[in-house]
Amino acid sequence: MSAFPTESLLDELKSQLPGVQVELLRNEAPSAQHSWLVASKDAIVVASWLLEEAGFDYCSNVTGVDWPDYLEVVYHLYSVEKRLGPVVLRMRTEDRGEKVHLPSLAPLWRSAEFQEREVFDLFGIIFDGHWDLRRILMWDEFVGHPMRRDYVEPDDYEYEPTAHDEIAEKARKHAASAGGAE
């Protein structure tokens, strides 16, 4: 199946809504699924246009990505009515510390409700406008965001006897500290 022509849709969007900050990011893989990088201030406007004018009524997938300088959320949108897609929307936060707020698209596509909660839980992106933003996969009192690349898990494992590389290192440190404590 051939990839969906997102460039022409983006041109249509820009002609109808001048002034929105949307950039096309090319995807070099053979899947040719190019994405739209949307500034967070224009996200709701762009998303409403896609939902109401272009007929993209089905948000299939919401993903969080942890890049070295910022966090990103990626939406895959399809149109059930017109059998088109995917349109890939991306939004980036300003940094990975305090400024991690992004507008929530869950009031537009209800399928984002649980998936945005998962992105919040595992990455720490705070979605403004989501009515029930709390942890979903980890328990409520959990501290930390496990999918981030700099997440350090607490030392509460039992190590297997065939450990390798970094796990073997951790097992040695654990045995040393536990042996010393006992």
């Binding site: 995807n27 053979p30 997938n61 059930v80 409700e113 649980f114 996969l137």
Partner: protein, 389 residues
Amino acid sequence: MNSDLLHGVPADTITRREVSYDHEGETLEVSMGPHHPSTHGVFRMDVKLEGERIVRLKPVLGYLHRNHEKLGEKSTYLGSIPYTDRLDYFCSMTNNWAYCIAVEQLAAFEVPERAQYLRVILAELTRLQNHASAVGFLVQDMGASGTPLMYAFRQREKILDLFEALSGSRMMCNYMRFGGCRVDLPAGWLDQLKVLMNGFPAFLDEFEKLLVSNEILMARTQGIGEVSAKIAINAGITGPMLRAAGVNYDLRKVDGYGIYPRFDFKVPLGEHGDVYDRYMVRVLEMRESVKILNQAIAQLPEGPILDPKAKLRGFRPKAGESYGRIEAPKGELGFYLISDGSPNPYRYRIRPPSFVNLTVLEDMCLGANIADAVIILGSVDIVLGEVDR
């Protein structure tokens, strides 16, 4: 866009029911699960009841969370395939296929003809055994004490024997590879499959005779757990649950992945989107799967089963990303991969159908009795391995 929120949830995404929220002192809060025989896994629902009627229902997930996505970042692309078996553990072949489609889009592998046919045959067998189990479990939850479930399982065992003869394992098949399939059919497998397919319509007839006009089943499922088409599409529901609401969206027809456009089959649609429609859609889909299987067996060509360019070890796709999706028996299963040119994916994301289908669980259950909550959950057909990953 609606900014009208009813108790925190957008108003026009709730199916209208008679619920009262003002009886604080007279409600009973019950936690259904995680250790519960009817929640299809370790799944918890915090239910607030007024008598027998549900006033609030909050699903609590995460009891089977194994952080598969982070494991995917540490494993190689090949090493993640056995882990995909364990997502929706009933349907390991379709999980493998969805992942292989996502990787094949990243690396432009071409799957040979025989492998395409084998993939379709195994995916439809998976669909058959999944729907048989789903219907069996649904009826079991209604109180049928296991008889229809055991009939379904008796037939399912024959399909699992086929999987074991081909891939070595009944459920954790680890069979598909990037660019084709791992191993070719052993001697006698195709004959065993033909015998099974000849006997399958008789099994489906008997199964239907047992259940379809059963008055208890109809009384307990018709009108329960209705979801309208508009809400279903907006809430991202896919699979038999969406088609029961009347929306003709089956990825085998829409995307036409693999070689599905060559087969002649219909897509059963429901009308009301209630539990009865979902149950009937699954029963009818089993018949369509048998049709596809008969056509695929007749057309199966000889030839190689793996793309000669495909590399087993040391596979490094070029940098890029891809989202590959298939019509798994539970809904749309998608894999989103971001590659940075190294042997491990940079981001490995699974879009689970059961997880997104659970979004409207509260809406469907509000105002219904607690016994109906069990049936509604059964008709959503979740598998916790997929919901929690």
